[in-house]
């Protein structure tokens, strides 16, 4: 009878929810573990907000990545786009006459859109493998960044610096410093943008026909075509959204670091992919969730912070722990999905 029960859980849960649940549970266990064993910083809410502040750009790009992955593709150009956007905006704000903040934002979104149009066209219309297309996209963006400006530099435009330093206080969650003065908890503007995007995309994926067609195309492209879904348009839009979000994410990143550099956002595409996977998106397509991706980013950065606060601050420890975590998540997913298949079969 116990057997029967297990079977029912697998029957009721669809793949997406099953993987999402695993992610959220593991994230909370990890965070609670950090609070209990490392205490100090982790027990303060600001620690959590700092994670958000530092990773708003990653959240945005990872969301775009999830959409492409759900529809069965991949985009490894996002890190390059982020670097290119930061550099272009930095050059515009610092090296032209009378720059305007709004225009710099338009530049960021414009670069993303352009990238999405070209990559979407190559993938959806010419049917070229997305990995190759975005690989070339990554090379191009990284190369262009150094062509635009080789040396890294800080932006000193006053309006921009003011925007960069804008802090939005979070009520009730502040803490008292050593002198007993109340320090309010805060988040940066980028975090608000990121949260809005998460909510918007969650709604799109869950309740719009476009969102559901991403899942359908990722689940079985041929079937989706037969069921009357415009597969080309869907794939095109998935790349368009992903690259545009990379553009927006690029601006948020720029807003956080306040500089342009060719080495910005190195390996961000891999972090975005890793976050999506940890959040329960399958690279085979058709399964995934934006909320999961959000928690994926949080899990990834929490582990980085745990490593850092444990005194293992050598850069190589971060690499090893992230890899180890990715490995564990992948193994859990692999085992759970295999179990599920078995349960359904018998």
């Amino acid at each position: 009878m116990k057997e029967k029960n297990k079977f029912n859980i697998f029957e009721k849960m669809n793949d997406t929810n099953l993987l999402l649940t695993i992610t959220i549970v593991i994230f909370f266990l990890m965070y609670i573990g950090a609070v209990l064993f490392q205490g100090g910083g982790f027990s303060k809410p600001q620690m959590f907000f700092n994670i958000l502040n530092a990773n708003a750009a990653l959240i945005i790009t990872a969301c775009g990545m999830s959409i492409v992955m759900i529809s069965g593709g991949i985009d490894i150009s996002v890190g390059g786009v982020v670097a290119l956007v930061s550099m272009c905006c930095a050059v515009y704000l610092d090296k032209t006459n009378s720059p305007n903040i709004l225009v710099s934002m338009l530049i960021a979104v414009g670069i993303g859109l352009l990238y999405g149009l070209v990559q979407g066209f190559l993938v959806a219309v010419l049917d070229i493998q997305p990995f190759i297309v975005s690989l070339a996209g990554m090379f191009f963006a990284r190369g262009m960044t150094t062509i635009v400006n080789t040396a890294p530099f800080n932006v000193e435009n006053q309006a921009f610096v003011a925007l960069k330093d804008t802090r939005v206080n979070v009520p009730f969650l502040g803490s008292y410093n050593k002198k007993g003065i109340y320090v309010p908890a805060y988040i940066e503007i980028g975090v608000i943008v990121a949260l809005l995007i998460v909510i918007l995309l969650f709604v799109v994926l869950k309740w719009t026909k476009l969102g559901r067609s991403f899942y359908a195309v990722g689940g079985n492209r041929q079937s989706a075509l037969m069921m009357g879904i415009n597969v080309r348009r869907t794939k095109f839009l998935s790349h368009l959204i992903c690259s545009t979000l990379a553009g927006i994410g690029g601006y948020v990143y720029f807003l956080h670091v306040g500089s342009g550099s060719a080495s910005h956002a190195m390996g961000m595409e891999m972090n975005a992919i890793a976050s999506s996977i940890i959040g329960g998106t399958l690279l085979t397509g058709g399964v995934g969730n934006i909320i999961g991706t959000f928690f994926g980013v949080l899990s990834l950065s929490t582990i980085q912070n745990i490593v850092a606060s444990a005194g293992l601050d050598e850069a190589w420890w971060t690499g090893i722990t992230i890899a180890a975590m990715l490995c564990i998540f992948l193994l859990i997913q692999s085992v759970v999905m295999a179990q599920k298949k078995k349960a359904i079969k018998t």
């Binding site: 010419l126 070229i128 190759i132 297309v133 070339a136 190369g143 190589w316 180890a324």
Partner: protein, 362 residues
């Protein structure tokens, strides 16, 4: 009558154009022609005296053969992995760092500035081979046993590899004192051709023999095309996939030997950077489907040299190394677009529209 022969020629041309080696050869010819027009001295091979005082051959073509070696060697393993698993190994750059670091550790024995090497070079190389194969085995295990997609499975070593490499040598950068070690990535005294060319040639000959005298090719393709049928025909798909990753691990170790030997030391974050992307590109340029199945290893190897040809050409045109990637990307996209079946279809339709009478003639 003449119409018919014209049709035959067209047909023959089509057959050539659809051959797998067409795109890489066309790219090679185009690059050669561009160089010939812009600067014919590109093809000159001169005898010069190198730092060690020996007469060696020098010229752009030698550079291409020299620096294309690592890529050609990696392309062999990457083609097999692609064919068997339908995915790519993105950790080769990182595992080159690991294998190279292990080699240095053995050679220098944990001392960053030793006076003599602490172990014979062959031992260090064998250790690197074992390390490379272990990395391959780790990736292969995740892919074949746990059924994780190759790109994702190798993401783990991609993320951790360079950190592990640094950890092997306690984040120090040991320098190999023995000049003999530099032979592998440079010249052997008295021989005017770079050693790397011979190493690549040996690897290519070995894989040619393996493909001729074993069923590796047939099994790999069968597994890549239809895993379930292969199993019912007595093939063990799990093992074949695993094997392909281990072979790639071996290729990585050889590439690591060349890379480390070129400098006699290592830079963990820079060594073989982005080489996985070039290796994958070589496979794709060779016209092999990245989704696995049928493969042509010669096309991949040719693809590797095409990429190096392009890189060398760009350097000749004084493109700074950081901006190289952008130009490479443009060329890659052009090549891929031209070889995409869909794009060809559209082009044919376009030609037909321009010339509606041709259909009857053919």
């Amino acid at each position: 009558m003449s119409k018919q022969s014209k049709g035959n020629i067209l047909g023959a041309f089509k057959a050539i154009a659809s051959h797998q080696l067409f795109i890489p050869i066309l790219a090679l010819v185009l690059l050669a022609v561009v160089n010939l027009i812009v600067d014919p001295s590109f093809f000159e091979i001169k005898d010069v005296t190198n730092n060690a005082g020996y007469m060696v051959k020098s010229g752009a073509l030698i550079t291409i053969l020299d620096y294309g070696s690592e890529l050609a060697i990696l392309a062999i393993g990457m083609t097999l992995v692609t064919a068997a698993s339908g995915g790519q190994d993105i950790s080769v750059g990182a595992t080159i760092a690991i294998a190279g670091s292990a080699m240095l550790r053995v050679l220098c024995g944990g001392n960053s500035r030793p006076d003599t090497i602490q172990a014979p070079i062959i031992v260090a190389f064998l250790v690197a081979c074992i390390v490379g194969m272990l990395c391959g085995a780790f990736n292969g295990m995740l892919v074949s046993i746990f059924k994780i997609q190759p790109m994702i499975a190798t993401l783990i070593l991609f993320t951790a590899g360079r950190s592990i490499a640094a950890w092997i040598n306690n984040n120090e950068l040991p320098i190999v004192p023995d000049p003999k070690f530099a032979y592998f990535g440079g010249f052997i005294p008295g021989i005017p051709i770079p050693t790397t060319v011979f190493i690549a040639a040996i690897c290519i000959i070995i894989i040619a023999l393996v493909l001729k005298f074993t069923n590796l090719g047939l099994y790999t393709q069968a597994v890549g095309i239809n895993e379930s049928s292969s199993r019912l025909n007595g093939i063990n798909p799990t093992f074949i996939k695993f094997l392909s990753f281990v072979i790639l691990g071996l290729c990585v170790a050889v590439a690591a030997l060349i890379k480390v030997s070129r400098l006699s030391t290592i830079n963990y974050s820079v060594i073989a950077k982005d080489i996985e992307m070039d290796a994958i590109l070589a496979v794709a340029l060779g016209g092999n489907a990245l989704s696995g199945g049928k493969f042509n290893i010669w096309a991949s190897i040719l693809g590797a040299y095409v990429i190096q040809f392009l890189t060398t050409t760009l350097y000749k045109f004084n493109v700074p190394s950081d901006a190289l990637a952008a130009y490479k990307a443009v060329v890659v996209i052009i090549l891929v677009v031209f070889s995409a079946p869909k794009a060809r279809e559209y082009m044919e339709m376009f030609v037909k529209k321009l010339n509606p009478g041709r259909k009857e003639a053919a």
